[in-house]
Amino acid sequence: MRLQLSKPSEHPAVVGWPLADPLGSWQLDHLQPVAGLHRHEVRLVELDPVSYVVKELPDRLAERESRLLRELHEAGVPTVEIVGVVTDRPRGQDGLLITRFLDYSLPYRTLLAGRGLRIPSLGERLLDALTGLLVRLHLAGFFWGDCSLSNTLFRRDAGALSAFIIDLETGERHAELTDGQRLLDLSIATENVAGGLLDLQAAGRLSDEVDPWQVALAIEETYARLWLELTGTEEFHVDESFRVAQRLDRLHELGFDAEEIDLETTAGGTHLRLVPRVVEHGFHARELFELTGLRTGENQARRLLQDVQRYGVVTEQRMGAKQRPVIIADLWLSERFQPALAAIPADLVGKLEPAEIYHQILEHRWYLSEAAGTDVGLDLAVRSWIKLAEQALTAPDAAEPVSESGADDRNP
């Protein structure tokens, strides 16, 4: 038997598991089945502070999926972290693929069940996140082959959602995808999303008013729009060079960055043709990380950067001179972000990412200030948010502290 373990010092518990035994026979504390029908045996091992998903599948497939997930991670596409692979198990048993359960993530069934698509924004955000993920995957040359809601986990991202791939068993990597590969993948995604929503409806956990067919088919339109914006060739008059900046702004607004652009003069010399070479998603997240060292979702970063910028005005007034962005960011971190997070009780911190909590506090501050007709300040907003979040947690149907920006039907 062979165990390939990444970062062994971070995952010491794995070595103690009964890796030579069939997964279905494991007797471990904190071992949970994973809901739903699976092609393979799957278990969740819930430890503190890390939880793991263990899947039993043939050696070749375990190694292949592990490699693909690693490559995805290296390509900057959001996915789960590979912890280890076990092969050559005794008695000819299949191998094991061990991944780290994605912290702060939620499955679509939790996000949509009972309410989601009755509140248009959450359903749309969920599907936008899934479509955005598929586009990013395709830009990086990956064919998924089984894009579905159940093969994805979602994280709150400042009012939006970020989608993460958790299963890539049918995936393939190519230098570049052909249109045929992309369209087939999209068609599989559409069918799978319709199936996922119909299944929720059949279980009585999704409003009957929702039309799964219509919702699923909308993915194809969203995908086509996004793909065109990211890769489409644009032609304009030589006097309209400002359109280059406009295109880049639009790409940044979508969270993507262009490594380079090709500008060619057309045959008559009167027009320019622009072809962007889009490389990565996470334009704002990278900027925030460079300024503060915080790792966040793209929308969280966008929101936090606005707050950093706003804090620049405060520091300019206080210090009598405009400060460099890196100084402003450092002051913001030590005087605003960290104190606000330090005030949050530990049981609430574990439920949401720090950046998401901070975003929700900012949002809450905005609502309070609007109601009061004046800026209530950050300290009061923090105290008020804590109070509401604690109430939400003790409510009978409590699940997660949630955003109040219309994405959900409950306050924090």
Partner: protein, 399 residues
């Protein structure tokens, strides 16, 4: 009723790599054709070109005689079976089979009719109202098949569909697919690297190497009359024994000298290899399958026994002979540097064979194969238009 025709079908990548130099292949209406070959032989590339997932660099792809090179995957009316077979636990078996048709706005009456047909075909008609959780593993697998076949497309394409199943389910599903395909009669192209899968499932099997078609024939024809050394060694398990020998003349007709012994081919060999009399002194690759050694036969081959494996239905005897092994490699034919090679004989399990003993095995001359050492092509098989000589060194690469 659909045919699939490839005329000089080519695939070249931007970096200049020629994955498929030019493939001519026709799949007849209702036929189950298996494309088989080692990893990297281009079989999946061919399937992807047919599916519309890879751009075609040259040649023509015809479905029912109509050129489809520039059509998208959806327009070709092809089903990629098992591309995804998620089942939804809260939906009935019927809904699991039907929902993709609903998505594509198929009329309700048509959906109902097709689901009924497919359910009967797959013996799921009694469980249409059950949930997948109430089914056995095999039944779930059939529901997944039902999702793929309910559309009744012109073509089924299957790319290693069994590779993620465990061994037991793989054997079961293999039989299910073959049975189902014959009942449905839908033209099918199936890609696999597993020659056992290929031989047990296909009406015909097309063997590819480096994008070149090495032979396309029925499983039996491939096994018994391989056109070349590559096919001879790729098909069959254990693989065909192939060692270097020299054509010689004996008192009883032609023979092949293998190291310090001669296998006499006699009149059977003379008929089997027309023109062998003119090949005296020429080095060849001598091939014989394990089951043609140690049974009936007029030839004799002596070997030193190294290992005996009792498999119940047969006895596999591994021994050495004093001649170098010959094998087909990606670029042609390779002869081993070692002066001896291992040979396997499949014998009657009731026979007693001692390890380290020397045994003389009968050789069934009618099942002996000779191959050209340079080209790998089969030598002088018969006069029916098949290979009779093979001295042109590039012959193999013409496919």
């Amino acid at each position: 009723m659909s045919t699939l025709t490839m005329v000089n079908l080519q695939k070249r990548y931007a970096n200049g790599y020629e994955a498929v130099p030019g493939l001519d292949l026709e799949i007849k209406d209702g036929e189950f054709l298996v494309l088989v070959g080692p990893s990297g032989c281009g079989k999946s590339t061919v399937l992807r070109m047919v599916a519309g997932l890879e751009d075609i660099s040259g040649g023509d792809l015809l479905i029912d005689g109509a050129r489809v090179n520039d059509m998208g995957p959806q327009q070709r009316d092809i089903a990629m079976v098992f591309q995804s077979y998620a089942l939804y636990p809260n939906m009935t078996v019927g809904d699991n089979i039907a929902f993709a048709m609903k998505l594509r706005k198929t009329p309700k009456a048509e959906i109902a009719q097709k689901v009924k047909e497919v359910a009967e075909l797959l013996e799921l008609d009694k469980v249409l109202d059950r949930k997948p959780g109430q089914l056995s593993g095999g039944q779930r697998q059939r529901v997944a098949m039902g999702r793929a076949i309910v559309r009744h497309p012109k073509l089924f394409l299957m790319d290693e569909p069994l590779s993620n199943l465990d061994a037991k389910l793989r054997v079961h599903t293999r039989a299910e697919i073959a049975r189902l395909q014959r009942r449905l009669g839908v033209t099918t192209m199936y890609v696999t690297h597993d020659q056992v899968e290929a031989m047990t499932m296909g009406d015909r099997v097309a063997v590819l190497r480096r994008g070149v078609l090495m032979q396309c024939a029925s499983p039996q024809e491939l096994y018994e009359r391989p056109d070349n050394l590559f096919v001879a060694q790729f098909i069959g398990s254990p693989s065909m024994n192939v060692v270097r020998g020299t054509v010689v003349s004996t008192d009883h007709g032609p023979g092949v000298q293998i190291g310090d012994q001669t296998v006499e081919l006699g009149s059977v060999g003379a008929a089997r290899f027309p023109g062998i009399g003119e090949m005296i002194g020429r080095d060849v690759a001598f091939g014989v399958r394990p089951e043609a050694l140690g049974g009936d036969g007029s030839g004799r081959l002596t070997m030193q026994v190294e290992l005996v494996e009792m498999l119940g239905s047969e006895l596999l005897v591994h021994g050495t002979v004093n001649a170098p092994a010959v094998r087909a490699i990606d670029t042609g034919v390779e002869q081993s540097d070692k002066p001896t090679s291992m040979v396997i004989a499949s014998m009657d399990p009731r026979r007693k064979v001692e390890v380290f003993s020397t045994v003389e095995l009968p050789v069934d001359i009618d099942r002996v194969h000779l191959f050209d050492l340079d080209t790998g092509l089969a030598i002088g098989r018969d006069a029916a238009g098949r290979v009779t000589d093979s001295s042109s060194p590039n012959e193999l690469d013409k496919g």
